[in-house]
């Protein structure tokens, strides 16, 4: 499966890029996070505390145990600070 993976705010800064295409067989968001962490230190640093992160699947907030089947865009970011 091919996913567009997006990073925002300090997640983007730690990983060093805002968007990438990821080929994966990960079943859930949590599985994808594990794959990414295993890649490189900067990913491991960004995802060190998944509880500090939020995830959106196809632009809708989701949980880390949500399945990735049918999803095209995954976004990781810290808690939002709008308003």
């Amino acid at each position: 499966m091919t996913l567009q993976v997006l990073y925002f705010a300090w997640v983007r800064e730690r990983i060093g890029l805002g968007r990438e295409t990821v080929e994966t067989d990960a079943a859930t968001v949590a599985d994808l996070v594990e794959e990414l962490k295993a890649r490189e230190e900067r990913y491991a640093a960004a995802f060190a505390q998944p509880g500090a992160l939020r995830v959106a699947l196809d632009q809708t907030l989701a949980d880390f145990d949500a399945p990735l089947a049918g999803v095209r865009e995954v976004a990781f970011f810290p808690p939002m600070t709008g308003g």
């Binding site: 705010a9 865009e73 808690p79 939002m80 600070t81 709008g82 308003g83």
Partner: protein, 146 residues
């Protein structure tokens, strides 16, 4: 006009005037304006990042929920992104209803959701460096009252 996400400055007073004219028949109009504060005394500017593909949808959902829940005659959300100097207007919500209680509740609801559920992130650039504004526990707690 209902939802605008923009880099450009906007005139909050002019928006209130336009909103009130559009919300004909409503007896109560509430506005909230958020302004870049220099809390630490060394703020050079603020940078607001957002997730364009998600922002529009998140704001439309929040707006529809507020209108339905409080029977609002209308609601607008204006939110800036990019670089903002201290004292600049960050964002604004406007609500109109027959009675004041609904107009107030609608505006507070919109703000509580914008704070924690709309994909914006604020970074402060100060004399001492850069730091991403941390979300506040109160903001998450504020959502629970609705």
């Amino acid at each position: 006009m209902e939802i605008r996400v923009q880099e450009a400055r906007f005139d909050a007073g002019a928006e209130l005037t336009a909103f009130t004219a559009a919300a004909e028949g409503a007896g109560a109009v509430v506005s909230f304006t958020g302004i870049t504060r220099d809390v630490t005394g060394g703020l050079r500017h603020m940078e607001i990042e957002h997730y364009p593909a998600m922002t529009e949808r998140a704001l439309a959902d929040i707006r529809a929920e507020a209108i339905g829940r409080f029977g609002l005659a209308d609601a607008w959300i204006i939110h800036r992104h990019g670089r903002l100097a201290p004292g600049e207007t960050i964002m604004m919500v406007l609500t109109a209803a027959r009675h004041r209680a609904d107009a107030f509740a609608g505006a507070e609801f919109l703000m509580d959701y914008l704070k924690s559920r709309a994909p914006f992130w604020k970074k402060e650039v100060t004399d001492a460096g850069e730091n991403w504004v941390a979300s506040r526990d109160e903001d998450e707690d504020a959502l629970r009252r609705w």
